[in-house]
Amino acid sequence: MNALVEPLAPPAPAYPPHARTYRYDEVDREFLQERIAEFSGQIERRLRGELTEDEFKPLRLMNGLYLQLHAYMYRIAIPYGILNATQLRQLAMIARRWDRGFGHFTTRQNIQFNWTKLEDVPAIMRALAAVDMHGIQTSGNCIRNTTTDEYAGAAPDEAADPRVYAEIIRQWSTLHPEFTWLPRKFKIAITGAPHDRVALQAHDVGVVVRKNAAGETGFEVWAGGGLGRTPVLATKLRDWVPEEDFLAYLEAVLRVYNALGNRDNIYKARIKILVRDLGPDFLARVEAEFARMPRQRYRLDPEIVAQIAAHFAPPPFPRLADDPPAYRDALARDAAFAAWARQSVRPHRQPGHASVTISLKPIGGIPGDCSAEQMEAVAALAERHAFGEIRVTHVQNLVLPHVRQDELFAVWEGLRAVGLATPNIGLVSDIIACPGMDYCALATARSIPVAQMISERFADLDRQLDIGECFINISGCINACGHHHIGHIGILGVDKRGAESYQITLGGSATNDAAIGELVGPGFPYDQVTDAVETILRTYVARRAAGERFVDTYRRIGPAPFKEALYAAAG
């Protein structure tokens, strides 16, 4: 049947007992096998010439397979950024066996491998399916992986658990018969916390799960956000969609988009352009569609919600007190541990516990890259200390969501042993960078080496701490996968008469005060962009008032002082 040689993957060990990932049953597994058979067949048809590249391309994209600059790239879905230790180990195995021993975590909370061979893909798909993973809908003009709060189920400020509804969206959008050939990609983010950690307004649809006074669940729905060539922040459609109408309302939004979204110009095809062009008429059309659809058919049954919610029940937390002596002593004893804890350890809703952010941004490293050994080390730490659960963040870091405070020191030591304890979360070297021209076929300039240069320039931790919270985001082209518009400092690499040139935007924000950064002036050549960032940060340090972060100072004093510092000498 299968003409391709297929090395067999080692059998997957059992799941860690407590991890709160959605657990596949036989139907989910059978579905994955069917999808593997389908895509393997499509690959064979392509290799036999029965499908042209034009016909094959959307099919492979829908299965996560891109053609990049040097090779195919395979993007694997990490649903809403949640993994268990077994899955992470299997990713390490795949990295070694079919790639070059590492993977790259993305801003969409997925992982991608840069050196995949087309003919290996069926075997990789089987290895993924062994741990209930796949690459379905990680690319293509369909509903992509839904992202959520990396601290879901752990954050003290959470009002409702977004994972349950993210999983519901995942199931509903999987091979959706009507929305698989959309005008363009479609990204949904969902959060259940008042503090926006998902860049809600930068998404095609953003959802806030809420509870009303009666304790009922409902959804605030936003639409029409997106970055790329025309950055637009999303518009709120509704304050409240009742739980049972959640899927119906999403259907209504997608129906209007699929019928009316631009199909002629790729730069006008995202829903943000439709929302902007139709103005209030967009909402009117969504509401009209919602009003006339047979709501019963799309009703979200509370029984199904309850079944899915059961997958995300809290792990069996021991009853502990906050600030145990072991933790306090370690903080007092070891300055390096204390420095790391200050950046990486976050409060947890369960007393005596904490969430730990693992930096994938070593000084001078490639943001988001993780070697197979590191994946295995994190998997082992998660099993030992964090109920076997790992999260991927949209700033390309990892999180152990539930760690006992009295085990934080052991976790830190384990991370340090594999180079994963850089204490720079939220600081200037915690940079988002897309792959850029080093890998990406669409790029106009490199972005990874720019991140590396900046990271090295600000390697000194004391200096980073003095500068404080500052998000630098770098994209290698106008598609903005590196979210440059919503970085405090955004860097966009363009091609200026054959040379790399970097445009800088200031004042962007990805959270509740979402803002699109403003272009500060003409671009800088590759070898001057680090100096420009340094000038910007020196200007901030000189002008800041007490307690102001970079972005606060920028908002208060505006772009003029930064422009002057950057361009005065040249002018």
Binding site: R46, L47, E53, Y72, L420, T422
Partner: protein, 108 residues
Amino acid sequence: MSAPAKAKPATAPMVFTANRLRDGRVVWLAGPGRWAETVREARVFPPAEAAAGLALAQQGERDQVVIGAYGAEVAIRDGIAVPVRFRERLRAEGPSIAAEPAEYLLAS
């Protein structure tokens, strides 16, 4: 995904590059039906023969051997063809950054 071959007439010598269908690796047109893995082996077409080169490259697409074939201008240095644009130099040489896992950089 790849930059399309420009319609405007070539003014510099050209090589033709593509990705191999089976494994995606970068390849360079070395002759009729022949694709090589290094730019050193690429056949250099003088500007006047660029159209013929493109036709050979596109035949490789029709034969299901390569995808995304396109032409790239080169400069000849010491008898060796070097792509003019940075993008094709990266295609020729691989990523400018470490494409294997780095040694651990011990934090703190």
